[in-house]
Symmetry: C2
Subunit: 345 residues, 2 copies
């Protein structure tokens, strides 16, 4: 086993391309060309290779990027690493890696100062592009990045009016369908746990809910849509409020996974059973939804396809920085029917 090599030398400068050139008896240019995969005389190549090996040489990406203006790093900015974003990250990291790039991740937790900080950081790091879940407050700072020719790709939530690409899902249509499903089962009084209305996806999902009601001749009752702000606790409280209404709903649509969990939490504490006492549908399908008593019916976002689409756009954008591609891709969602809804007699 390789001994833990001598670490007495205070701070050994690591080998540079010059050292390699010297050791291999060639010019630095030749080494650089070798490193960049250009054709090199065979004998030289071999000498360079052994030199690199012997010296333990590692290319300094920063030094390269300062000349090429390319860092091969993509900024990835999200509010949290909940189920949805974690899966996005996993898929995106994979697909982006296959193009020889990596992700710098920043998590802002909803704090606008951290968002600003992140954007500054990305700007300083000269990320080749930025993928982010849109947040309204960042309009100017993102526009700033765009001015500096950094391609931006929004997903999940949009920020209107910026010259960026977008990969979204059919929030309204999917919500419409899943609420319609409840209506088809005979539900007339359907509550909704909504996300933060500052987010486009929250608005669209609410719109889908309202559209379904309206198209089926049901009234839109303000008391039936309660803001849960995407989080467990919000879903829990909103559900409590709904169920303590004089006439509580017979079904609830949660606009995301966390709030659906919050609803389940309240149901459990209150001894309500799904779907016997209350029906529940949710946006965001996750594996564990299968494991609940009857399984939770949910809208499945095509996470892998979102990630792949983002990567495709990324590649195209980076290959041709001049072209102003402001494309919006909208992907369809599936609805996974499980047993969390029951037919009203």
């Amino acid at each position: 086993m390789s001994e833990t090599t001598d670490r007495t030398t205070a701070k050994r400068r690591s080998a540079t391309i010059i050292d390699v050139a010297k050791a291999a008896n060639v010019a630095v240019g030749t080494v650089s060309r070798y490193l960049n995969g250009q054709t090199i005389r065979r004998s030289n190549r071999e000498q360079i290779e052994t030199a690199i090996h012997d010296l333990g040489y590692r290319r300094n990406a920063a030094a390269a990027s300062i000349r090429t203006d390319l860092t091969h790093m993509i900024g990835f900015l999200v509010p949290t690493f909940d189920e949805f974003h974690a899966r996005m990250l996993e898929h995106l990291a994979r697909s982006v890696r296959q193009t020889g790039r990596a992700l710098i991740t920043y998590c802002h937790g909803g704090d606008p100062r951290i968002v600003a900080e992140a954007l500054d950081f990305f700007a300083a790091q000269r990320v080749d592009a930025l993928v982010m879940d849109g947040t309204a407050e960042v309009y100017h700072r993102v526009d700033d990045l765009i001015t500096h020719d950094v391609p931006i790709i929004f997903y999940n939530n949009d920020v209107k009016g910026l010259a960026a690409d977008r990969v979204m899902v059919e929030n309204q249509k999917a919500s419409y369908r899943v609420v319609k499903h409840l209506i088809d089962l005979g539900h007339q009084r359907i509550g909704m746990l909504t996300g933060n209305p500052a987010n486009s996806s929250a608005v669209e999902r609410l719109l889908g809910y309202e559209q379904a009601l309206t198209e089926h001749g049901l009234p839109i009752e303000p008391v039936l849509t309660v803001r849960g702000n995407w989080v467990y606790e919000g879903g829990y409280q909103a559900t409590k409020r709904l169920m303590q209404l004089e006439t509580p709903p017979t079904a609830i649509f949660a606009a995301n996974y966390n709030m659906a969990m919050g609803a389940l939490g309240w149901f459990k504490e209150s001894g309500l059973r799904v779907p016997n006492d209350i029906s529940l549908v949710s946006f965001d399908d996750v594996d564990i939804f299968r494991l609940f008593d009857a399984g939770i019916t949910a809208v499945a976002q095509p996470v892998a396809r979102i990630a792949d689409t983002i990567t495709d756009i990324l590649v195209e954008r980076l290959a041709d920085p001049s072209g102003s591609h402001n494309r919006t891709t909208v992907l369809e969602c599936d609805i996974i029917l499980r047993g969390s809804t029951r037919r009203l007699t």
Copy 2:
């Protein structure tokens, strides 16, 4: 609203420190000192500030790092972004951010080639340090990084014999305790779903299980420990195997969250109820465990403290690169008792 500024100019070179110096009528050195928070004559400072603003100047971190040998980036290498690692990422990103650094994330999915690729990438990027879930195959490549004076911090799984810091949890002790709990309830035949034995945490958790049995005079039966390799499907299959034994266990200990879910999946399909028909305990506590019928009793890893500890070590290491701190920190786990176990009569 700031107009989407003129993007006709093909590829506008962004302003440099030199441009700022010129515009502010000072020397580049002065601007550099300003940027790095050193004291500057007031009048100069103001001129610099307006110049920076007018030019939309952004410091080029790569150019700086080539001189300072500091990138303020921490590599973060994980096998997957499952519940546990996603939470780690969230906490670590936060605490690391507070020290002015950010994370470059790489997800290897168990593929040794990707691990190697990641390590090369980190080396080229000159990350200031590397945080990783240890994987045995990487011994040499990590040693290589250590040779280049990159501090390494292992968490979750250890790789023995390397000069690195480590932040682990008391896997064996926690497993011992949770299995002992089962034994105290009268269980004599306890199955275990084990992780990949190449991982130190898998070995330690198994050891804890065996210790509990032995200390209570119970035999260690090889058929009762089935390898589930950390994943849902593995847990599902392993559970199936256990429950189809001639004398199936009355309780099961899953070495992680995913395998516990797999067990629950099989139970559900087979119509078994927890805890009436079978008791279940798990490593890794997650919020949703509360929501299952009776709640799932589980070992809670102190994720936030792991992240904070890692960051503390990071800061210390980076402040004093000469000191060879090879510290191993072992954190305690809590056991969250819920209703997934029943007393055997």
